[in-house]
């Protein structure tokens, strides 16, 4: 079992004719993902890696029954692409693009809150259900099927953790990137709730970082609504206040959003917090 994506996921790639879009379309097809359509305005009628290209998401959905989309378009067009996918009725939109203006995301999110569409990201590596569907840019081969749910604000840090889990024989149900932007489509809580309900997930790894209060709210949620064990890691203990650490959302502002307060929030509700990434797999193994 899994959450959000599986072997029935039918994917449309927005920005399929771009360099990144085409490269990752091939990677996802190699992994076994059902990529059924691509969209690039003005390039409709063409083909990329055996996938038909359409001018609009509406057309792509109508012709192929796509139920998920992944977005590789440049930041200045990305908000528009998310809205287009939502308006075409796509159930899950995964936005890889980094650098979307925050006010664009505020409008997008306010619109999506009145729709059925779920957005992952932006500025995320995507989502993978091992051996079923890879909807993202992560290296597929480091994952293996299993019962550990993974949710993270980061990309390569997640690969590091997943790699260690796989090495120890601890497979994953689904690994979800929610992205490193200050305003995103899906929070830790949204994903934790799905893992809690998923019979294929036995325990969860949560990888957070400095900035905002999403982790603190996740801790609150774990305390009251989760029966499955959660292991956490928070990056950025040595980050100075007021400086953005790469991700737009990774910044301690007005003294709020420090690693220390997030770690304290988790420990207060009995969630074990790893002191370094290598320790996560050890803690997970103790419960497996």
């Amino acid at each position: 079992m899994s959450i959000l994506v599986n072997k029935d996921t039918r994917l449309v790639v927005q920005g399929i004719t771009g360099r990144e879009g085409e490269f990752h379309t091939r990677q996802m097809l190699d992994y076994g993902t059902k990529v059924v359509a691509g969209v690039t305005p003005g390039k409709g009628g063409g083909w990329i890696a055996g996938v038909p290209v359409f001018d609009t998401v509406h057309e792509a959905v109508h012709a192929t029954g796509a139920n998920a989309s992944i977005i590789y378009v440049p930041a200045r067009f990305a908000a528009d692409a998310i809205l287009e996918a939502a308006d075409a009725g796509v159930a899950l939109v995964v936005c890889i693009t980094e650098g979307i203006p925050v006010l664009d995301m505020i409008r997008v999110r306010a619109y999506l809150d009145c729709r059925e569409t779920r957005l992952l990201g932006p500025n995320c590596p995507g989502i993978i259900t091992p051996e079923e569907a890879k909807v993202g840019i992560m290296p597929g081969h480091i994952h293996s099927p299993g019962t550990v749910g993974v949710v993270s604000r980061s990309g390569t840090l997640t690969y590091e953790v997943v790699y260690a889990l796989t090495e120890r024989g601890l497979g994953q149900s689904t690994a979800v990137g929610i992205g490193g932007d200050p305003v995103n489509g899906t929070s830790f809580i949204d994903v934790l709730q799905r893992f809690e309900e998923d019979p294929g997930t036995a325990q969860v790894v949560l990888i957070g970082e400095i900035g905002g209060t999403d982790e603190q709210r996740a801790a609150e949620f774990v305390a009251h609504h989760m029966s499955k064990p959660v292991t956490a890691f928070i990056a950025g203990q040595t980050a100075p206040p007021g400086k953005r650490m790469g991700h737009a959302g990774a910044i301690i502002e007005g003294g709020e959003g420090t690693a220390a307060e997030k770690i304290a929030a988790f420990e207060a509700v009995g969630v074990r917090v790893a002191s370094h990434p290598g320790e996560i797999a050890e803690l997970v193994a103790e419960l497996a």
């Binding site: 409008r107 480091i142 290598g278």
Partner: protein, 379 residues
Amino acid sequence: MKLHEYQSKRIFAEHGVPIPRGDVAATPETARQIAARLGSRVVVKSQVLVGGRGKAGGIRLADHPDEAESVADQILGMNIKGLTVKKVLVDEAADIDTEIYLGIVIDRAKRRPVIMASAEGGVEIEEVARSTPERIVTIAIDPFLGLQPYQGRELAFGIGLPKEMVRDFVKIAQGLYNAFMACDASLAEINPLVITGGGKLLAVDGKMLLDDNALFRHFELAEMRDADEETPEEQEARRHGLSYVKLDGEIGCMVNGAGLAMATMDITKLHGGAPANFLDIGGGAQAEKVAAALRIILSDPNVKAVLFNIFGGITRCDEVAKGILEALREVPTDVPMVARLVGTNEEEGRQILASADMITATTLSQAAEKAVAASRGEL
């Protein structure tokens, strides 16, 4: 990106917010001319991108043009928290009766811009939030509707503003909100917004932070960037598409991915060291970019060891390894290096680095331990 006070206030004024008459000067002579033109008592204010200008002596009153010139002469060239004052704003001095606070920020949890007002103006809002949070009135703004008049009134009455000023206050709040949205700001602040002796509202100080990701649609704002906002190393990094933040430790870190970069910094501390920097080379980094990153790290004299932590996905370990060698050819150094390359083409990467004098590690923990030891000359 930060804007100066004079830039922020001009933008506010374009949206109908009343500001004092005044102009900006780069020389004492110009400051005198501005003061003469204003024909009143003036305040000469240093324009640097840090807080605490007043305490540092960077804001002074002057009664006549000659005094404005001499005061400007003292302030220009002054060093405030490491920044040299290159411009002063010469404003007509306001007759201040009361100081209030008005600001807009993005509330991440609410996913909305929020507008805040407080009767406690002139002090940092964080300070008010800590000591007397009940004195701050906060209202979230619907991005599709914008700031409504009733919300402006709720703010005004909420901070106990005299009712004859409410109408003007609402206009100022809406002007500030319009400025915030028009510029893709992440912060727009009037602190203080003063009530003058004559019962008028006036924005005597202003501050704006802009969303760097939105500058592509604001060329005129992007041109206002003051190079002093970033260190020369940070500017160099930005030119190469690298994300770099200087810290004060001794372990230089080069990592792909922001989260992994932070985790790498943290683990050096866990092993008794301290990170010299945050540096994310991004996804799919090419050799040239890696070389630029290494040059920036090595330009910091505090760096006693460099730790490379690369988890290859899109980024190929052999590309990174080539970049490291390229950089070492250009910038010969005695600083010990620890490399940990895992993932795509890791074998090829390790083989390339075998020709260099480099300490290798397989796990992050091991790499950090070795880097700390190397920084102390123990390896």
